[in-house]
Amino acid sequence: MGAALEIRNLHVSVENQPILKGVNLIVKQGEIHALMGPNGSGKSTLANTLMGHPAYEITAGQIIFDGVDLMDLETDERSRMGLFMAFQYPVVIPGVTVANFLRNAINARMKAENPDSKGIPIPAFRKLMIDKMNMLEMDTSFAGRYLNDGFSGGEKKRAEILQMAVLEPRIAIMDETDSGLDIDALRIVAEGAEKLTDSLDMGVLIITHYQRILNHIKPQFVHIMLDGQIVESGGPNLALHLEEHGYDWLREKQNGNGSVS
């Protein structure tokens, strides 16, 4: 049985400002979930918190991955356990080539497991990288470019998925990977992600604003976040419904539910 990522009643603050206000969600390996919600509702905050960004303070609740409480683990340990996040805003690392970076990332994993490991041999690494780049229809010259440095918006997103493909996580969070991609790139990236999902039995949490990507990589579950909480969960139709009606009906429903007005 695969691993699961369990988020229980998660409360998170940034600079003492509460952002997440009790999030509950379970993503199992092999499942595809979509997380939607208006700007500023807390989707990236959730993703960053899962990955252990130091700016995000957990004030209540738990994150359990494969039975382990992530609270006690550093970001790199979470990554090596098989958690991955494709960044909404990938970070530029000047002077470090994509190839060099990926090889170090693989080697870091191997060494963490076995301190005597010599790391991945160059030919094996080269083959791995070229295979994955081909899958994502990326020009291999990318391997020699500095990581995200001068990459176009779409190139950055593709490079994120390349990293995902090379690192083969168990659970991946893709934060707005679709934004900035042209129509062809969207298809290629989404299909690549879908292939990985199948071949690795990967669990995925796709954060997105648009139905489009979900045509290529079909979620079993769709969740909607509003003001730091998941207020609605359903099947793929929920995304279609949103596309048509926006979020207002949810806000109204929320207000009707609890507030005094």
Binding site: A55, P94, F101, N104
Partner: protein, 470 residues
């Protein structure tokens, strides 16, 4: 541990690797402090001609007459009364490692010098405290007329040539510490490359301190004659002591018409060494000189390799890399002085500070009125690894000709939390992530360097070979 980790933790193992010292085995040690008697004693022990002794004594007066510079790092902790200005390590200089006294030879073995000599070098010299204990050059080079000797032998055996250049590139009155060196110089190399001779492998000199509270004042003269090529490499380390030591070298280089030369320094003194060095190259028509200056060690370094571009077509480059860790001040940079038209220069400085270390880029670009069509670029970048470290830039520009093209860029960046988070989210630990950012920062510079020859250089900079940082 990967090279990348070595790089970030670059001086963490200093005490084990370099900070050791040998029992005292010197054959002569002058008393502490500096006066005309000490200067006379040095001259006498070296059996010098009278003109040199007079030169020294005059330089001592110049040294006395100049105030301690206050425009840079604080030098008030440096007290000459606490310094041994001359410690003679051995009776004579050897041509074979077998003849070097055992204790000293063991130290150079441990530092990997004889091994490096065999593998990568066209010749090697080794200085221990005040004098060279070893100098040797490949036979075929010697037979082509290449001279590679200690500075003392240079004076003894090639007095005319020596006299023609000594003190001409850097006169005693150039600055206080050039004057000091001119008074008490001891050790260093004398190099002459005849016209058209291309020395493919580098010559290297290694400077080692052993005695506590010592002053080392090497003097080097390099003449690269017309159309010749030389790469000279200098490395240095010292034991870690609680008392301060002083290293104050003077390096004079003449690069004649159409010649090329490169002088690479990997300075890795212990944290108790004041390193105050003057080095300058005079570059003639269509000739090129490159300074590659890596400052990793020392307590305080003040060092601004300079280029005097004397004739049309002269070109010079300075690559300066500084690393300032805890309790270290690296005041480094470079000077390009354009005397002639159609001369070009480039200065690239990269500094890294951590644990409260301070680095400054201090540079001068000067263009004289007659120097038309000069091109010069200066790029200085600093990377701070934490909030308690600091970096400054002091670029001085004096341009007296309107036809000059100058580019100047300076950046200071900090390894950001977002960069670390991004790299760590791919499984690198914090140390590896930091190292990767540092490597990336140095990459534009390391691409330029050949570095197979030096042990410290490998530690400083990731080899460009595949597999190096994995």
């Amino acid at each position: 541990m990967s090279d990348a980790e070595h790089l970030e933790g670059i001086r963490e193992t200093y005490d084990d690797e370099y900070g050791f010292h040998d029992p005292d085995t010197y054959v002569f040690k002058a008393r502490k402090g500096l006066d005309a008697d000490i200067v006379g004693q040095i001259s006498e022990m070296k059996n010098e001609p009278a003109w040199m002794r007079d030169y020294r004594l005059k330089a001592l007066e110049i040294y006395r007459s100049k105030p301690v510079p206050t425009w840079g790092p604080d030098l008030s902790g440096l007290n000459e009364d606490d310094i041994y200005f001359f410690v003679k390590p051995a009776d004579q200089e050897s041509r074979s490692w077998d003849d070097v006294p055992d204790t000293i030879k063991q130290t150079f073995d441990r530092l990997g010098i004889p091994e490096a000599e065999q593998k990568f070098l066209a010749g090697a010299g080794a200085q221990y405290d005040s004098e060279m204990v070893y100098h040797q050059i490949k036979k075929e080079l010697a037979s082509q007329g290449v001279i590679f000797k200690s500075i003392e032998e240079g004076l003894r055996e090639h007095e005319d040539l020596f006299k023609e250049y000594f003190g001409t590139v850097i006169p005693a009155h150039d600055n206080k510490y050039a004057a000091l060196n001119s008074a008490v110089w001891s050790g260093g190399s004398f190099i002459y490359v005849p016209p058209g001779i291309q020395i493919e492998m580098p010559l290297q000199a290694y400077f080692r301190l052993n005695t506590a509270s010592i002053g080392q004042f090497e003097r080097t003269i390099i003449i690269v004659d017309e159309g010749a090529f030389l790469h000279y490499v200098e490395g240095c380390t010292a034991p870690t002591y609680t008392t301060d030591s002083l290293h104050s070298g003077v390096i004079e280089i003449v690069v004649k018409r159409g010649a090329r030369s490169r002088y690479s320094t990997i300075q890795n003194w212990s944290d108790n060494v004041y390193n105050l060095v003057t080095q300058r190259a005079m570059v003639y028509g269509d000739a090129t000189h490159e300074w590659v200056d890596a400052n990793l060690g020392s307590k305080v370094t003040m060092k601004y390799p300079s280029l005097y571009l004397m004739e049309p077509g002269a070109h010079g480059e300075i690559l300066s890399i500084a690393f300032a860790g805890r309790n270290q001040i690296q005041d480094a940079g470079g000077k390009a002085v354009h005397f002639a038209p159609n001369t070009t220069s480039q200065i690239i400085s990269k500094s890294i500070c951590k644990d409260g270390g301070r680095s400054s880029y201090r540079g001068l670009l000067k263009v004289y009125p007659d120097a038309a069509n000069v091109k010069s670029t200066v790029v200085c970048d600093a990377l701070l690894l934490d909030d308690i470290s600091e970096s400054d830039t002091y670029p001085y520009i004096e341009i007296e000709n309107p036809s000059v093209t100058v580019g100047h860029e300076a950046t200071v960046s900090k390894v950001g939390d977002d960069q670390l988070f991004y790299l760590m989210s791919r499984g690198l630990n914090e140390h590896e992530a930091n190292a990767m950012v540092v490597n990336g920062f140095l990459e534009p510079l390391t691409k330029e360097l050949p570095m197979e020859y030096s042990i410290e250089m490998n530690r400083l900079i990731q080899l460009q070979m595949e597999g190096s940082i994995g």
